[in-house]
């Protein structure tokens, strides 16, 4: 391979819409690595790319769907999960991935997030958490740590943030993991596991926004922020998730936190209600109901 070829090709070119590159992300942003890691997992999963859709909302992470060579849907702010729900339920043969940011999925889309997890709709949700609204200029949001500065918290943030992993687990997600974008191999394995697992699977990726969140909180450039991840990351798969909140102290508890089995919305709908029964109006048989309740 000549030097020129090395410069011209990226190992993931086949899965990217090259005609949409260069991307919009700032230098030092973690999103490129998040996308690259996701694509590696996607390729390894051997999922049929023709039957795979990726859905985003609005924001910096919301641009991911548009760079990936799948069926890409860039929807409205906060709404990728209900759009994906319609897509998946209307054609259960599709693999549907939601890739969006913390503001999109957890603030304006928070209600959709908890309900999709509760229903256990068969979706893989990847949330890049950079603690801020990047696209609009670094405003505070539901993940901004207490005391952090942002464009709308000039005196420091005085709202307590959501702990996304705890929220996902409490809402009923069957798989919950959190990694920083520095942990590319562990992150890739988690995404791969999430893609191959039935039900509502959730991967949170902690990722730097040096241009806004980093600058306003004097955290240094992208490289410095990533070096801090290296220093502050604690792997603890068995942590009590309520103790895994993220604050300004820099400690980041990561791991594969939740991995359980529960029937999906589609399984319940088709297997227990829509399958041929002598009397369609009959209730779900007692043993069947017990099975479902046991899992729930």
């Amino acid at each position: 391979m000549t030097e020129e070829q090395i410069a011209l090709n990226h190992p993931m070119d086949a899965y990217l819409r090259e005609d949409r590159i260069p991307h919009i992300w700032c230098s030092g942003c973690g999103l490129g690595t998040c996308l690259n890691t996701f694509l590696h997992a996607l390729v390894k999963s051997k999922i049929d790319m023709k039957k795979t859709s990726i859905v985003s909302g609005i924001g910096c992470t919301g641009r991911v769907a548009g760079y990936v060579k799948l069926d890409s849907f860039h929807t409205t702010h906060g709404r990728p999960i209900p759009f994906a729900t319609g897509l998946k339920l209307a054609n259960p043969k599709l693999k549907v991935i939601v890739f969006s940011g913390d503001g999109d999925l957890i603030s304006i889309g928070g209600n959709h997030f908890i309900h999709a997890a509760r229903r256990n709709v068969d979706l893989t949700v990847i949330c890049v958490n950079n603690f801020t609204y990047g696209m609009t200029g670094g405003q505070g949001g539901p993940t901004t740590p207490i005391t952090a500065r942002s464009a709308t918290t000039p005196f420091g943030n005085f709202e307590f943030p959501f702990n996304l992993a705890y929220l996902a687990a409490g809402s009923g997600a069957v798989y919950v993991a959190r990694w920083t974008m520095l942990d590319v191999r562990r992150l890739e394995n988690s995404i791969l596991h999430a893609l191959n697992k039935k039900g509502f699977t959730f991967v949170e990726i902690i990722s730097p926004c040096p241009t806004l969140y980093g600058r306003m909180n004097k955290l240094g450039n992208g490289l410095k922020m990533i070096k801090d991840y290296q220093k502050n990351t604690i792997i603890n798969h068995k942590v009590d998730l309520k103790d895994a909140a993220l604050g300004m102290d820099g400690k980041i508890v990561v791991g594969n936190f939740v991995d359980i089995q529960r029937p999906t919305f589609t399984e319940v709908l088709y297997d227990h209600i829509a399958k041929p029964q002598p009397n369609k109006k009959e209730d779900i048989p007692k043993e069947e109901r017990k099975k479902i309740e046991h899992h729930a």
């Binding site: 069926d71 929807t75 759009f83 209600n111 369609k280 109006k281």
Partner: protein
């Protein structure tokens, strides 16, 4: 007892409008419904929850109407005919993603069984106050198709029509019903499946490498590829080019949005349905829609008995508005009377189209009940006075 396995319940039924709407959807091939309970549209949702799973479809109760509206867009892109049903407060929440549906040209049907507003208003009582919201409620320039049923039979027929128009023009279509039409029970005749005209989805014949998802045909409508068919489509609510890629400039905005408007404006003759009774030679014409058009029948008969030449023009399609017909009519008649269960929404449009050629008399009503026929009769009498 419901024959639950059949998608089309051929025969004569005594049925309320909401149930007839659900049956119309099923007969039109609807196999995905996302909704949220709200009076007076709940019966549509309940009927779908019972019927859809047994004909191989999916019913889902979403967390709110925002989610319901966008879930039906997702389902449509998966290749299913999809619908939601709501009333005023839910309709407000649906405006956001009705706009997305228009922008990404997604066939689907949105039913609004109108009640009295604003806000929570009169949940159980009739209104027609959302007619302008239907036209202008989502942000930015758009055109919409809205049908107004006047009976349970039309709740069935026009729901099928709405699905067909949504596929033909690749856009969300509204069924703007009202509480009285939704809740009244009447005879509803459901034809056999082979007699129901279904407009198929306009699918692309191009190969994936060559396909441009927003390149229009002669009708200004781009043929579709669904998700999962190997086309790797790119769909965005941002202003986009024919490839579907975002292009944020004035030129692309002009090209795209003009086409979105024109595909409805220039095809309005194919879309608009009007019902006219004794309009030729009339001095006064009552222009109305939905339940108000039915309330107008009695006073019109009374006025005719008393010697006034009065006709009825019923707007089955309210949007796009039949501007040419009203313009022409205004030149022939002395006055146009517009009864509606709001403070004069469609009457404003009639007035604009009449352009001073005929007197336009609004017969407003705050909602909560239908007009007293005497109010309409009084307006007709006032109209013929010099």
């Amino acid at each position: 007892m419901l024959e639950v396995e059949k998608p089309v319940l051929t025969g004569s039924h005594f049925m309320n409008g909401d149930n007839a709407c659900a049956e119309g959807a099923l007969a039109a091939g609807c196999r995905f419904f996302a909704g949220y309970p709200i009076t007076p549209a709940t019966e549509v949702t309940e009927r779908m929850s019972e019927r859809l799973p047994l004909v191989g479809g999916v019913y889902i109760q979403m967390e709110d109407e925002i989610a319901s509206m966008i879930a039906i867009l997702g389902a449509s892109w998966a290749g299913k005919r999809s619908m939601t049903a709501t009333s005023g407060p839910g309709f407000s929440l649906m405006m956001e993603n009705m706009g997305l549906g228009i922008m990404i040209e997604t066939p689907c049907v949105l039913v609004n069984v109108q009640r009295g507003g604003p806000s929570t208003g009169l949940p159980t009582l009739v209104g027609q106050g959302d007619m302008m919201q239907a036209r202008w409620g989502s942000h930015g320039p758009y055109e919409i198709i809205a049908l107004c049923p006047s009976s349970p039979q039309e709740m069935f027929d026009l729901t099928i029509k709405a699905f067909n128009l949504s596929e033909e023009f690749r856009t969300p279509v509204l069924v703007m019903a009202d509480e009285v039409v939704g809740h009244m029970s009447e005879k509803v005749v459901i034809p056999s499946p082979e007699k129901i005209k279904i407009h198929p989805r306009l699918k692309t014949k191009e190969k994936p490498e060559k396909y441009l998802p927003f390149k229009p045909n002669k009708n200004l409508v781009p043929p579709m590829a669904n998700a999962g068919e190997g086309y790797h489509i790119h769909i965005t609510g941002l202003t986009h080019d024919e490839k579907g890629y975002p292009v944020i400039n004035a030129k692309t905005q002009q090209k795209l949005v003009k086409r979105l408007l024109d595909k409805i404006r220039l095809n309005r003759d194919k879309i608009i349905i009007l019902e006219e009774d004794n309009v030729e030679g009339a001095d006064v014409v009552v222009v109305s829609y939905g339940i108000s058009a039915r309330t107008a029948v009695l006073p019109i008969q009374q006025a005719r008995k008393e010697g006034t030449k009065v006709g009825l023009l019923r707007l089955v399609t309210v949007w796009p508005f039949p501007e040419e017909r009203i313009k022409a009519l205004a030149k022939k008649v002395k006055a146009i009377v517009v009864p509606e269960l709001n403070q004069g929404q469609i009457s404003l449009v009639v007035e604009r189209c009449a352009a001073g050629n005929a007197k336009v008399i609004s017969v407003p009503h705050m909602g909560g009940e239908t007009h007293d026929p005497k109010e309409i009769l009084a307006a007709i009498k006032q109209a013929v006075k010099k």
